[in-house]
Amino acid sequence: MFDWFPKNISTFGGDIDYVFKLIFYIVGIGFLLGELAILFFVVQFRRRDGQKAKYISGDKWPQLGWILIPTVLVLFLDLWIDFAGAKAYDAVKGEMPVHDVIVEVSSKQYNWIITYPGPDGVFATADDITKENDLHVPVNKVIKVVLKSQDVIHSFFVPVLRLKQDILPGRTTDVWFEATETGKYEIACAELCGYGHYTMRGFLHIHSEEEYAAWLAQIWPAE
């Protein structure tokens, strides 16, 4: 059932999947009970000769209990779900942990412009390097991504990280992630941004420490 999810390779993705599963089981059971009850009522109380329907207006408190008690249960489960999710959301969008690597992703119709601050770790200096559509980061490190947009709203979506963030033009939005596996994954734009929206595809390269060092050495040869 949950095989349909893309692989999860972020530290917080597991929590998100957990909340999804929790909701799935809770509402799944509720859903089945509800539908089975309807099916049962419909079969049981189908029209038969000589049998009259019961006159139940449901305006008295004892009768209303039949619908209000299940409703209280629904409310309780709802709140459980909501509070179970609060922590997971806070981990992703709440306060950011201290980052090891920082990178800027600027979006425009229909490309991801990725800027690395270089060895000095500061943007807008001479050693910045800008690449299109390829985001290289090390594994097991906290990565801070500074998101910007040059034109319309885009949405930075990495399915394997369970990370999605709309990017508003005129502001910067920060997100973070920590990948747990190496590999090459896809970045997608999740917010309609024009006719080329579907082509706005980027790649997330997650390197092991050695690979990452080699990649760094390649684009910033030691001076």
């Binding site: 949950f2 349909w4 999810f5 893309p6 929590d15 909340v19 909701i23 509402v27 859903f31 539908e35 309807i38 009522f41 419909v42 109380f45 189908r46 029209r47 009259k52 329907a53 019961k54 006159y55 139940i56 207006s57 449901g58 305006d59 009768q63 209303l64 619908i67 299940p70 409703t71 629904v74 779900i81 909501d82 999710g85 609060a86 959301y89 992703v92 969008k93 119709q109 034109d151 319309v152 709203i153 979506f157 399915p159 394997v160 369970r162 508003l168 033009p169 005129g170 896809e186 734009c189 999740a190 917010e191 309609l192 941004c193 024009g194 006719y195 080329g196 929206h197 579907y198 595809r201």
Partner: protein, 577 residues
């Protein structure tokens, strides 16, 4: 103000054809006009859905039946991305604003509300006529937008700025302006309609028809009208600002000129959530009328349902930011909005449980309207429970803007608009057109629609779990979506079947209208006032205005011979005792 003068409207027996059928002020004729408009627009938007689905299943191949579309909109049936975006946008816009609202509020609201409250017409008949011709003009704007240079609006039905705020981003010029103007006219139309709904209900009820003896359909209609009036204002303001951005060159939503793009989303969704209930409430209102009639039982918890509806209506104004969990708004606002969102499931749980309790102990007869009513409840439950996933902020980070969301809102809107709408149509068709609809064709239509609808939208949840983004022109661009292409194709096959499944309905509709079995005054033995008058309904609805003695749902009263008790007849002494 001027509409007061309508009291002078003269009713002559020999009205010209134009006055009687085209510029008619009779709520029954206007209701039918709305009905035909919405069914026609449903056909238009359904065709768009077919083009969209084909493109998703077999990207960039010629769509059978789209060869007639001239270049540069399409190329001998092959749909380019610009047109695809326009199709997605207009499918959503038309289905919500030009099918859902005209069908449920326009057609059934107008037709039924005066009959149900026991009035001779709406309070302002001329305004009523204007409201229809306004939405008619709005529909023309929408359809015309396809034929202007640059094509139709292509910024999504939500029209997020700045994509929608400056023509350079989409290449769409007048198409999107017409979209805004069309929407503004549509809003005006339903504001005018809403005046009538509320005023008629408050001031023109028949003697004895207290507010708590109103059929629930009336309650749902007026609640929907009030919700619409209270929520649409800010969006009208936003639409004016957006139009100025596009045409005059102001920068309300353009960050480069000092504007704020997020504001559009706040304005849109402040309207958006109440709007869902505007479409939903009349749909389940029809279910509330049909369930008691075919289970021969009172609706369970009449007052509780009314209160729940009001609570849901109030809450619907406090949940709009749940559409914006990943929009970049302040994360501290997310928790309060997720709580209100999750609370809104409570009143609807009450209503669903009340429906189930209505079935319990009944004597259920499976006529087509009843099948549709039960179908509405069963599928709406899926729409409700999947809303919990979307309402949960962490899960929404992943499934936001994926097919999970698409499927969720189709599971809420399709049951209310189409299943509820069909239920209503099969149920009130005898009153509206004086003929019975064919039962066999009706049942074929029900099962076909029901099965195919689920086959279309349940797999979409799977796509959403796989991270399949919505509004994607060609999913094959992404490696992680390629393995799911089979599901996309399956959905498209089902969608084509779903569309073909409407043929029995169309045949039934027209065949019954002209050659169906003649309907009696009250073919379902129902209690409410619209069945108390003759079929076909006379010009001023009732020969004499009936007096109402009790509530609308007194079925199977104990100590009584008949299992129904029309509102305009006094109870037999035995039943009173």
């Amino acid at each position: 103000m001027a509409e007061q003068a309508t009291s002078e409207v003269q009713h002559t027996e020999q009205m010209s054809f134009v006055r009687k059928y085209i510029f008619s002020v009779d709520h029954k004729v206007i209701g039918k006009q709305y009905l035909f408009l919405s069914l026609f627009m449903a056909l238009v938007a359904g065709t768009m859905a077919y083009y969209v689905r084909w493109q998703l299943a077999w990207p960039e191949t010629a769509v059978p039946g789209a060869g007639w579309i001239p270049e540069p909109t399409a190329f001998s049936g092959i749909i380019p991305p610009e047109f695809y975006n326009a199709l997605v946008t207009m499918h959503g816009t038309i289905m919500v604003f030009f099918v859902g609202m005209p069908l449920l509020l326009g057609a059934f609201g107008n037709y039924l509300l005066p009959l149900m409250v026991g009035a001779r017409d709406m309070a302002f008949p001329r305004l009523n006529m204007m409201s229809f011709w306004t939405i008619f003009t709005a529909s023309l704007c929408m359809i015309a937008s396809f034929f202007v240079e640059g094509g139709s609006a292509a910024a999504g039905w939500t029209g997020y700025a700045p994509l929608s705020a400056d023509p350079i981003y989409t290449g769409v010029t007048w198409g999107l302006n017409l979209w805004i103007i069309g929407l503004a006219l549509e809003f005006t139309s339903f504001l005018m309609g809403g005046i009538n709904f509320l005023t008629t209900t408050v001031t023109m009820r028949a003697p004895g028809m207290t507010m708590l003896r109103l059929p629930l359909m009336v309650w749902m209609q007026i609640t929907a009208a009030v919700l619409f009036m209270l929520s649409v204002g800010p969006l009208v303001a936003g639409a004016i600002l957006l139009l100025l951005d596009r045409t005059v060159g102001t920068g309300f939503f353009l960050p480069g000129k000092g504007g704020d793009p997020l504001l559009w989303q706040h304005l849109f969704w402040f309207f958006g959530h109440p709007e869902v209930y505007v479409v939903l409430l009349p749909g389940i209102g029809a279910v509330m009328e049909i369930l008691p009639v075919f289970s021969r039982k009172p609706i369970f918890g009449y007052r509780t349902i009314i209160w729940s509806t009001m609570v849901a209506g109030v809450l619907s104004f406090l949940v709009w930011a749940h559409h914006m969990y990943v929009s970049g708004m302040d994360p501290n606002l997310v928790m309060p909005f997720s709580i209100t969102t999750i609370l809104i499931s409570v009143p609807f749980a009450v209503i669903i449980f009340a429906f189930m309790a209505t079935l319990w102990g009944g004597s259920i007869e499976f006529k087509t309207p009843m099948l549709y009513a039960i179908g509405t409840v069963t599928t709406f439950i899926i729409g409700g429970v999947t809303g919990i996933f979307n309402g949960s902020p962490p899960v929404d980070i992943f499934i936001h803007d994926t097919y999970f969301v698409v499927s969720h809102f189709h599971f809420t809107l399709f049951p209310s608009v189409f299943l509820g709408g069909f239920a209503a149509l099969y149920f009130w068709f005898p009153k509206m057109f004086g003929k019975m609809m064919n039962e066999t064709l009706g049942k074929i239509h029900f099962w076909w629609t029901m099965i195919c609808f689920n086959l279309v939208f349940i797999p979409m949840f799977v796509l959403g779990m796989g991270g399949h983004m919505r509004r994607i022109y060609n999913p094959m661009q992404y490696d992680f979506l390629k393995p799911m292409q089979g599901i996309n194709q399956f959905i498209t096959y089902s969608a084509i079947l779903l569309l073909l499944g409407q043929i029995p309905f169309i045949v039934n509709f027209f065949w019954s209208m002209f050659g169906g079995k003649k309907a009696g005054d009250n073919p379902w033995n129902a209690n409410t006032l619209e069945w108390a008058t003759t079929t076909p309904v006379p010009h001023e609805n009732f020969d004499t205005i009936p007096t109402v003695y009790h509530g609308p749902y007194d079925y199977s009263l104990p100590n009584q011979n008949e299992d129904w008790q029309p509102q305009h007849l006094e109870k037999e002494p035995a039943a009173v005792a």
